[in-house]
Amino acid sequence: MSERIFGGVLVLISLVGLFIARGFEAPFSYEPVGPKAFPMIVLALLGLFALALVFGKTEKTAWAPGPVMQRIGLLFLVVLGYALLFDRLGFVIATALVTLPVARLFGASWKQALASGVGLGIGLFYFFDRLLDVALPTGLWLNAITG
């Protein structure tokens, strides 16, 4: 069933995409194939194979059982939060904050989670920023204090 729903979503995407791609007009052009041909071919094929998915033989999708799915959703939100806060809080704090729930989700005790959060935050910052010269955000809050 999930496959058919996903196929349906893809059919929609391909139709909307085709509609958008129709409007790709080059203001002036000196080649026979403009900017819209390739995306339109791809979208049309995508629509066709998505239809095949909707009406063809499908297999049952083995989604994780409910409670596990909730934890996966939670993990996704935590990682998304990580992405949002990465710049704002700075690497050290964001990593420490995110490691705590992630480590807990993967079965660490509170003590282990706390220790790995602090350890990863500081350790990786030192490793990348200082040792490997990969610039990492220190966080907007720090800039506000130090001016």
Binding site: A26, V33, F49, T99, V102, L120, L124
Partner: protein, 501 residues
């Protein structure tokens, strides 16, 4: 002779102290990533690529690092296969069949050292194969025009689509989503904004690294939570560590045969290490006749898949280097790495960038010697990594992935897109969509479109140019055969099984 001179130049590049150090680090990291269950070569290369880029390594050093990681992963996968009965990467699935029974018999040491030698044999044979065949193929491919190139990429995509996964629509959908995402951004020929939805950050297109990290790091983390179960205790290493002469004599031809076969399977686009190791294991088992212990702990049962696995991993570098058309997910990521450095892989690579190509080939030789040395005496060090708790590993992978994406443009937008792509990748993988065609489509999308437009510009819009030359026709036929052939063969096969029953 010319090849030898070029190879010598390659060694001069690969043997600078800095590059030797990079290869050593890459080998070590690769083996560790390879032995961790869940993380395979593609994750290792995907996670390390942005870091290498952020460290501003010169292109040849970055490639040496990635190739060393790639080679190392192929060695690492066998360690968890033998000691845990859990393949560290997909290519090591067959190694569990005899590796784990051997370990249970108390022969873990000999099984590990034998498989290390087999890996080394496979990798060396394949690297020699690259030296012998790649320049020839590159020379031949220079005759390709834009039309042939376009069809060649269609062939590469349909090879992967035909061989990976069971469902044709799913493989094609994965590949088409990749192609579609590659069109996002300003069209370089006309300046038209495509699918940017007025978002400034999308004007340059979705960065390759964002897609790679999303698909292979973020989605992997989500999958790891789904597959979370108590890790079995690894079997302790005890007794003798080295295989003896008798075991070696038993397996030596197995290794060589599997290495040669693995190389040629690897060169074919689409057929990767998994197929090579499965085929070689099956044929060695058949050739062994009655006198064997395959399945219950036969040395040949670890030698065959490991030799084939490593040989095909190296063999799959051939189409990437010579044609600019990667044949597997991992080589697609590596090709993306080249394009980050504004190097276009393809037949002209051997002429334009001899330093990079031959430096890379030479570093494969060096990396494999390093790996052999690391993997026999230092095996106990690597075994220690098997006990890294997953609750430390996952946040670490998440943090390193974010660092990699952030290093590209330093904005939050890319990070968010990466996480969203990760969720898409997770859903696709749970629904059994193959992911390799996705990344291949994304990497090849731009080149495909450019070559299609160039071909049609030359012919002034006449579509027949795509079917005019004999090479193009041959490639079309091959593409259709690869797309349909494996499925028809499988169908006939299953029908025969039914008939026999």
């Amino acid at each position: 002779m010319e090849t030898l001179t070029l190879l010598a130049q390659g060694f001069a590049v690969a043997a600078t102290p800095e590059n030797l150090m990079i290869a050593l680090i890459g080998c070590f990291l690769g083996t560790v990533v390879g032995l961790l269950p869940g993380l395979g070569p593609i994750n290792g290369v995907a996670i390390l690529l942005p870091i290498a880029f952020a460290m501003k390594l010169p292109p040849e050093s970055a490639l040496i690092l990635l190739c060393a990681v790639y080679a190392g992963c192929e060695y690492g996968g066998r360690i968890s296969a033998i000691l845990l009965n859990v393949p560290g990467d997909a290519g090591a699935v067959m190694t569990t069949l005899d590796g784990y029974p051997l370990a249970k018999k108390g022969l873990a040491g000999p099984a590990l050292s034998m498989s290390a030698v087999a890996s080394f044999t496979g990798a060396m044979v394949a690297t020699l194969g690259i030296v012998a065949f790649a320049p020839l193929l590159a020379e031949w491919a220079i005759a390709f025009g834009p039309a042939e190139y376009f069809v060649l990429m269609v062939l590469a995509l349909s090879c992967l689509g035909g061989l990976v996964g069971d469902s044709l629509p799913k493989a094609m959908i994965a590949c088409l989503i990749g192609l579609l995402l590659s069109t996002v951004g300003i069209d370089s020929n006309s300046g038209v904004y495509r699918f940017t939805f007025d978002m400034l950050h999308l004007a340059d297109g979705i960065p390759f690294i964002v897609i790679v990290i999303g698909l292979f790091a973020v989605s992997e983390i989500l999958l790891m939570l789904q597959g979370l179960h108590a890790n079995p205790e690894p079997i302790a290493l005890s007794g003798r560590m080295m295989f003896n002469l008798k075991e070696f004599m038993l397996a030596k031809w197995t290794m060589l045969r599997s290495a040669v076969a693995g190389f040629f399977i690897g060169v074919l686009p689409g057929a990767g290490a998994t197929i090579a190791s499965a085929m070689c294991y099956a044929s060695e088992r058949r050739m062994a006749g009655k006198d064997h212990q395959f399945g219950e702990g036969d040395m040949r049962g670890v030698a065959a898949p490991e030799a084939a696995n490593n040989a095909s991993a190296n063999g799959s570098l051939v189409p990437m280097l010579t044609l600019g058309v990667p044949g597997s997910g991992t080589t697609a990521v590596m090709m993306g790495a080249l394009t980050l450095y504004n190097i276009t892989p393809g037949p002209t690579l051997f002429q334009d960038q001899p330093v990079i190509v031959w430096g890379l080939i030479a570093s494969l030789f060096i990396a494999n010697v390093m790996l052999l040395v690391m993997n026999i005496p230092l095996i106990r060090v690597f075994v220690k990594f098997l006990s890294i708790p997953v609750w430390l590993l996952v946040p670490g992978v998440a943090a390193i992935s974010m660092v990699g994406v952030y290093a590209v443009h330093g904005n939050t937008f890319d990070l968010i897109v990466g996480v969203l792509v990760g969720a898409l990748g997770y859903a696709l993988r749970v629904m059994n969509f193959p992911i390799a065609p996705f990344i291949l489509g994304f990497v090849l999308g731009d080149m495909m479109e450019q070559n299609l437009r160039r071909a049609l510009s030359i012919s002034d819009g006449e579509i027949g140019v795509l079917f005019s030359s004999p090479i193009a026709i041959g490639l079309w036929v091959a593409a259709i055969a690869m797309l349909v052939g494996p499925r028809v063969a499988r169908m006939l096969d299953s029908r025969r099984v039914v008939a026999q029953a």
